[in-house]
Symmetry: C2
Subunit: 288 residues, 2 copies
DNA sequence: ATTCGACCCTCCCCCGGCGGGAGAGCTCAG
DNA sequence: CTGAGCTCTCCCGCCGGGGGAGGGTCGAAT
């Protein structure tokens, strides 16, 4: 009787590389059946082949080693299946992201985009029902959906006085996380749950309308930004979005209309009346 | 007039991080419009926003930076679209791989697999028409399809005397590349193009039939390997496959039948007649 | 004109999951 | 006993980015 399969033989049987098997041992993913205490030689047995193959498959799905470990450690087949299903959902979400990027890329490479309509608008202060939070970039969509659902539930249609909107700190995009606010203008804002009344300060906005799903909304952002720069303005402060037509209004993303507004101020204030925004300084990073 | 947009402003406009912009500069992907020779400050212009967004999208699609660079460097829109389409094809292929892994994983986690039928078979030497090459793991499928097409073209049905097969070095799977041979038994093998007559040495094979597509064929490999180990045999030498029913026979992958054979020899040779294989030593790595 | 906070610079280390290679020790058949 | 071929550990590199240190610059407010 042999002591067991050497790592090389086991590698041949499982189609994993020797290095990879060593790594899995080191990570505690797949302990050899025995390890010679003197030589350090790893010895495997035939019944370790199935777990090795499960690991192989999970890695093909880019499941991180740590997660593979927790999946393998889960005895209950039901919970284990749940963990796997969770990762598959994430894969699916990523696939959606990829599809969206493909569509957006095509659009971006199209040579002649239609002219972008940009409007400069002074928005007075107003008080709305709002939910504010510190969110990581990847969680924005889920957080947004959740918060908006809470607002919708608290304020049924008769109380609403306009389309919902959001305000997003720039660091959210450039830094990976940041403050975001979603709000709804309503007749009488009141605090409840995460909702609290919020008075939005007056701002000068450069406003453009993005048509269609949000996958490539940053293209419109970019074009709006270019417009702003070319008109000798500078952007400052958090992005404003107003969902004129959104997922709550039509299930057809192509019909969505999102107004995006970027707070601006004049670089070299000419004779034109309105000066800088209320906060005056052009230091960014407000909204925290 | 400003010198241009600072890296921070440009980051805000494009939703890229400052660090990432610096990296793209360093990689030659997106040169700032100007760099202050004394301070090293990078300054961008509004017309750099579109290329930045193209880069952003390509990166979302996991296009390597080097490839992004070559795409951007390509002036001709036609060629550029080709490059992008090429990457999309690769994405699609990867997606197929992922789907296959999901299916295979489900199957692997199913608790009660049917018993695997394994047969020990002594295969005599035979001469076939073969194509041999050194192939990287990722290219196997394309290489296989190409070589098999060449064989099929050279030997129309009347000349064929059996189902086609292949012989694959183990390092192909464990090491990332290796020697593979595809062959067809025919009446009179002759050299032509890459095809050359090859005499396959006699081997003792442990043979099992894999049913269905090849995505999870290594599960069958593993089970065959376990069987071999449990029967006090050791595997040695390149894997043999025989395509009893393959893509050339039916478009329905579920109907495929692939015979896989693993050269074996007895670990403790008993009184039974047949000894080890013709090459004798159990050193692996033959087939080169 | 100076101050001072926000910005920008470069440089180095870290991550995950693998591969390559060095240098040394082990196994086992001839 | 020899020697080929295996195995061991350890260190470095890849990719695309993040974190942070330490120091220089910009420009609005004082």
């Amino acid at each position: 009787m042999r002591t067991g399969l050497t790592i090389g033989e086991f590698a041949t049987l499982t189609h994993l590389s020797v290095r990879t098997l060593r790594r899995y041992h080191e990570a505690g993913l797949l302990e050899p059946a025995s390890v010679d205490p003197f030589t350090g030689y790893r010895y495997y047995t035939a019944d370790q082949i199935p777990p090795a193959q499960v690991i192989h498959r999970l890695r093909e799905l880019d499941v991180p080693l740590a997660e593979v470990k927790s999946i393998l450690a889960t005895e209950d087949p039901q919970r284990r299946a749940d963990l796997v299903a969770g990762h598959l959902r994430r894969l699916e979400a990523e696939l959606d992201r990829t599809r969206a990027a493909v569509v957006s890329l095509r659009q971006l490479l199209r040579p002649d985009p239609a002219e972008l309509q940009v409007e400069l608008r002074s928005v007075p202060a107003r008080t709305v029902a709002a939910i504010t939070g510190e969110v990581a970039l990847g969680d924005t969509i889920a957080w947004y959906a959740d918060a908006m659902a809470e607002l919708d539930a608290a304020y049924p249609p008769p109380e609403r006085t306009g389309p919902p909107g959001g305000r997003y700190a720039n660091e959210l995009f450039t830094g990976g996380n940041g403050t975001m606010t979603v709000f709804r203008p309503v007749a009488r804002p009141r605090a409840a749950g995460r909702i609290e009344p919020l008075t939005l300060p007056p701002v000068d906005l450069a406003v453009a309308v993005h048509r269609g799903p949000h996958d490539n909304i940053d293209v419109t952002y970019g074009r709006l930004g270019a417009w702003v720069v070319e008109h000798a303005l500078a952007v400052d402060g958090p992005i404003h979005e107003t969902y004129l037509v959104g997922p709550r209004d039509t299930g057809e993303p192509a019909g969505w209309r999102t107004e995006i507004g970027w707070p601006v101020f004049r670089l070299t204030p000419p004779a034109t009346g309105a000066g800088a925004g209320p906060e005056g300084s052009r230091t960014s990073g407000d909204g925290r």
